[in-house]
């Protein structure tokens, strides 16, 4: 391309006619008058602002997780403080499995607090069979021996007794003591609290059976039998009875009295069972890794962050396909527009 032609193009550059110049000047005069109020307030989202928004959102997400997580930890600490001391306590798997409703039968035990001192007390005025299991870890065989003796003392001091005791303390290896204690149900809470001090709790659970319904049933059977006996006695006092009839009634009366005795025995047994709780205490020298309840202070923060990540992932999964379709549509429209523009520029 010759420089002459280029220079000619440059030299003959069209100049705006004066009419156009006046039109544009007239427009410019309106500049301030026409400036829309909303335009002054308009907040345009440039790429730079968006680039700032992303780290800002991340910071807000972390800050929210920190505030929520730490405040949750604080609340949990308060609950733990009410529950008891600050010893290392585990919530073992088996006790979690036993955490069920207290009103249900034995297979469904009530929710278990993480500390022995926080164990749910038996209901007063309600007959219940109360059983508790406590697993403790002690330092060595000597500590095991001391703890076993102390467990017996605790049973006695609570007006209880030792139902069974198995003590195995070899010179080498793991020492174990398995003790079954019976203590008055009214004092089981205190006994559990003292027993839990004998070592580090590695597991605990308890079960409650409702005996009240059984006792009520026995009581009504006793009353019915008593009424039956009274009727039989009354009929036997009649002088018009034949010998055969009298013999039958005598037999019935005898059976009723035997039944009444049995029912009373059963009711006494039920009451006795409800008065006494059974504690299965297992102590071992075996080292069991205790998992601290609640974990570190940052666990709550981690949880909230995890939930935020899940929410983000969910949003992406839900919105993602629409976003992809939107981007594809936008690209296709852009491509089509470009194609049309190219065609128009070639035609004109």
């Amino acid at each position: 391309m010759s420089e002459t032609l280029l220079n000619e193009i440059r030299a003959t550059k069209p100049e705006a006619p004066s009419a156009l110049r006046e039109r544009v000047r007239a427009l410019s005069v309106q500049e301030h008058a026409r400036e829309p109020f909303l335009d002054r307030l308009r907040f345009t989202w440039g790429w730079r602002r968006l680039a700032l928004a992303v780290p800002a959102t991340v910071v807000v997400a972390f800050a929210a997780a920190g505030v929520i997580g730490l405040s949750r930890d604080g609340a949990r600490d308060q609950v733990s403080a009410v529950g008891g001391g600050d010893t290392a306590v585990t919530s073992s798997t088996f006790e979690q499995a036993q955490a069920e409703d207290s009103a249900a039968p034995k297979a469904a035990s009530p929710a278990l607090p993480s500390r022995a001192t926080g164990i749910v007390p038996p209901a007063t005025g309600q007959l219940q069979r109360y059983e508790a299991e406590l697993r403790l870890q002690v330092d060595d065989v000597e500590a095991l021996s001391t703890a076993t003796k102390r467990a017996q003392q605790i049973a006695r001091s609570h007006d209880g007794s030792i139902a069974s005791l198995q003590y195995d303390a070899p010179s080498e290896g793991v020492g174990t003591a398995q003790i079954t204690l019976r203590v008055p149900t009214a004092r089981v809470q205190s006994a559990m609290a003292q027993l839990s001090q004998l070592g580090t709790i590695v597991g605990q659970r308890y079960g409650i059976d409702d005996l009240q319904a059984q006792a009520d049933s026995l009581q009504s059977q006793i009353e019915a039998t008593q009424r039956q006996i009274a009727q039989l006695v009354s009929r036997l006092q009649s002088t018009t009875l034949s010998d055969a009839e009298r013999a039958v009634l005598q037999s019935r009366l005898s059976n009723a009295r035997t039944k009444l005795t049995g029912l009373r025995e059963e009711l006494r047994g039920t009451n006795a069972e409800a008065r006494t709780a059974t504690i299965y205490l297992t102590m071992t020298t075996e080292e069991i890794q205790a998992v601290p309840v609640g974990g570190g202070r940052l666990d709550g923060v981690k949880d909230v962050l995890a939930w935020e990540a899940i929410a983000l992932l969910y949003a992406l999964v839900v919105v993602g396909p629409f976003l992809i379709v939107g981007v594809i549509v936008w690209l296709m429209l852009r491509l089509r527009r470009r194609h049309v523009e190219t065609r128009l520029l070639e035609q004109n």
């Binding site: 032609l5 193009i9 030299a11 550059k13 069209p14 156009l20 500049e31 523009e341 070639e346």
Partner: protein, 178 residues
Amino acid sequence: MTLPRRQPASVAEQAASFAATAEEHLDDVYAYLVYLTRDRSLAEDLAADTFEKALKHWRRFDASRGSARTWLCQIARTTALDWFRAEERRRRREERAAVPERFEDGGLSPGLSPGLSPELEAALRELSAGEREVIALRVLLELDGDEAARVLGISPTAVSTRLSRALKKLEEKVSIHV
């Protein structure tokens, strides 16, 4: 061929009022539109539309993203393309209605520029709008490759290629007319 590079957009440019900016770049926008449309009266109307749009969006102009001239040329190009589209639609409607009236490509309109030689004028008229606009931006307005690329919405390399082809074609056509 050596094409001078322009200085990047200054901060002062952003602060300048619309009136000053319009005054400064009116000739450039008009010249660009004349080359794009081959019609000076049409270019005049489109230039007025361009500045009207620019005034409407003046607050959105960001000098750090490009010079005011580039921004005005982008608006001018969009305005011209909109006109081309409307004209095409009008032509189709008229063709369907069997009215053989269509936009004449500069038949009665005055030349691109009064000083142009007839050969160059004729050669320029025979180029496509796409070829003329790249010549207008790079030669007439002396925009650098990046600025021209921003106006055209293509890469600087594509601008160079397009300019090279356009100039070659222009030279061929000039030689034919001579």
